[in-house]
Every structure is written in structure tokens, then in C-alpha cells.
Symmetry: C2
Subunit: 209 residues, 2 copies
């Protein structure tokens, strides 16, 4: 039995950063993937009615994907080497999340099709390029952008870019979301060429999100 | 000159948790409050176009309120005493944030007045009571709810409940948001009776949010 059990939908979404951190750290875990129906059956029993949840040693059940991923990143030396690197990694993760947040409105929001199309157009043409430019500026401020988001080694902030790429691919149909941001694109390639990450990415299950 | 400079609007909102952590830790800081107009002038120069920002020693500028507050909480022993307490505090903060997130839709969302009223009614009658009940369950699971959210001492998760209370007061007009959740209410009172927090709360500037 694994020490760790992740429970999430059969998708990447908010579960993926936990899978990526554990993959980078080479730590085995049980990857429990629920259908919508199965989630409905257990929802009321969950700490905050949400998945992902994360069980440790069959005793403790955590929720909140970023809290879980940060905990694991710290445990397995993927959170930054100094106090400053750690807060910077946390900051970049939250900035990437802010970049992803508007997507929910035009994918699942309570709007008609015209309004959704308008929001999506605004996101792709106006909001997303600004977010990506600001992220690239962060990156370039550290070692001219030729290293990682913080310090000189991989952190979970870099892995969160891989998580974002999955959302851009699957929800927006953007195959090369970083095409116009060469330093971000190079970082994405650097991270996804790390052998364990490359093997994981090559064997991702086909999912809707 | 203070080591720390917080820049935010003249409101509580996303800046308040940083003020509360520094107040609890008895650490002085410069509390730089901007008008909307002043924010407009500096927006393009900010790391992610957002405030709060937080300057350390005039050298480093951070953004993302929760990343900043967590960093300070760790530095001043308000983040939890063990790895487990730390991830649980992070989790509770994110759950409280999830409880607050729907408010933005009916306060600032792109909806007509009827839709906003409908969303607000649903929030107050259906969503908020469930969030509060789940939070109270967390609390009760630790020392029967007679201590703090995690462990046996104050963490920034408890302070985040004070931040939430401010939002309920100012944006929703709820003077006693925890009235139906006695253990949460008792926690709120326990925290706001800590002398430094009590003095801070008694001298809060009158603001819109």
C-alpha cells in the first residue's frame, strides 16, 4: 500500500500539480481517479466537499491542491532552497493560478454562448498575452531566464507551468501556448525534458481536461 | 525606515492578512494605502499588475497576498509548529478563500441587478452556511474546537478568519457572520481578544471594503 493516495477526477486540472511534484520526486502514490458519479457519492464526506484530497498513511486527509503540492514540494526539496526562494515559488504558483482563473468563466460559467465567445476572445487576445509577458519578466529577472523560475534548480513553480500548459492544451486547444514567449517556452522544454517528467508526460492518459 | 512596506488600496481586502500577521507578530511596517487613481499610475510597473505588493528592505518586491502572509507567518512563528500543522494551516486559509471567492461575482461581476441579487441570495442561504459548517467541523476536530484551527496556538489560519469577518461586515453587511456557528464564533472572539489584535481592530480605519 502506498503511503500516499491522491483522489481526483480522471483529468489533470487541480490534481495534476500533485502528480507532477511526486513524479519529479520519484515518490510512488496511488492515483485514484473518480467519475463525476463516484464523486457525487462521496462529496458530502469530504473535508471541504472538494477533490483533490490527499491521504497520508491512511490516517490524515488533506484537501486544497496547492497546500498539498507545497507540502510535498517542501518535503522533497522542490520548494526552493532559501526562505526567499520559497516565497518567490509560492508567488509564481499563485500568479500562474491567476492566469488560469479567468478560463473557468467561459468554459463553465453561467453565460450564453455569445458572452462565452466574447470572454474567450478577450482572454486569448488581451489577458493571456499580458500574463505570459509578466511571467516571462519574472523568469528573465533570474539568471536571464536561462535557469528556472527561482534559484538554479527545479521547483514546483516550474512544474506549475507544465500544469498550466495542460489546461491550455485541453480546455483552450492551444498546442503551443508559449510560442510567442521564447524564454517561457524554453523553460517548459527544459522541465519536460527531465527524464522522469518526460516519461510521465509521454504516458499521460487521454482525458477531457 | 521600516524593513517592510506594504502597498495596497485603502481597504482591508487582500492586504489585511498581511497587516494582521505583522500585527500579531508585533513587527512594524509601512502601510502604504493607494487611491484607485494612484494604483492606476503604478499598475504597469508592478510584478503582476496587482497589489498588494510587499517590499523587503527596499530591495525585493513580492506580490500575492497569501504567499507574502505565509512567508511572514513562517518567519514569525505563526504558520504552525510542525510540517503537518503548516499544511493544515495552508489548507484552511485556502478553504476560507474559497468561501470568499463567490462574493466577487455579485459585488463586482458583469451581471445585471437581478442576477446579482439572485447570486447573493444563493450565497447567503445556501453556499455560505455549508462553508461555515465545514470550517467548524475542521475546528472541532482539533481539541473539540476550543483551541485554534491547528495545534494549540495561534496561526495565520485563525487570522484569516478575522480577514473573512471584515469582508462579511463590509461587503455583505453581515455584522455577526458566525452567529449560527458557536465554535467558529468563539474562535473569532478568542483571536480578536488577543491584546495586539484587539488594539488593532479597535483602531481600524473606516473603509469601503
Amino acid at each position: 500500500m502506498s503511503l500516499y493516495k491522491l483522489t481526483y477526477f480522471n483529468g489533470r486540472g487541480r490534481g495534476e500539480i500533485i502528480r507532477l511534484v511526486l513524479t519529479a520526486a520519484d515518490v510512488p502514490f496511488e492515483d485514484n481517479r473518480l467519475s463525476r458519479e463516484e464523486f457525487g457519492h462521496i462529496k458530502s464526506t469530504l473535508p471541504f466537499l472538494q477533490i483533490p484530497t490527499f491521504e497520508i498513511d491512511g490516517k490524515i486527509t488533506l484537501c486544497q491542491s496547492l497546500a498539498i503540492a507545497r507540502h510535498l514540494a517542501r518535503k522533497y526539496n522542490l520548494a526552493g532552497k532559501t526562505e526567499l526562494e520559497q516565497v518567490q515559488a509560492d508567488m509564481i504558483v499563485d500568479c500562474i493560478q491567476d492566469m488560469l482563473n479567468p478560463i473557468i468563466a467561459f468554459v463553465h460559467g453561467d453565460y450564453d454562448a455569445n458572452k462565452k465567445a466574447e470572454l474567450k476572445k478577450k482572454y486569448l487576445e488581451e489577458q493571456l498575452p499580458v500574463f505570459l509577458t509578466k511571467l516571462e519578466q519574472f523568469l528573465v529577472a533570474n539568471n536571464s531566464g536561462d535557469s528556472f523560475f527561482v534559484g538554479d534548480s527545479l521547483t514546483w513553480a516550474d512544474l506549475y507551468l507544465v500544469r498550466a500548459n495542460g489546461t491550455f492544451n485541453l480546455l483552450l486547444g492551444l498546442e503551443q501556448p508559449f510560442a510567442n514567449h521564447p524564454k517561457l517556452r524554453a523553460l517548459f522544454e527544459r522541465v519536460t525534458k527531465i527524464p522522469r517528467i518526460a516519461a510521465y508526460q509521454a504516458n499521460l492518459p487521454v482525458t477531457q481536461f
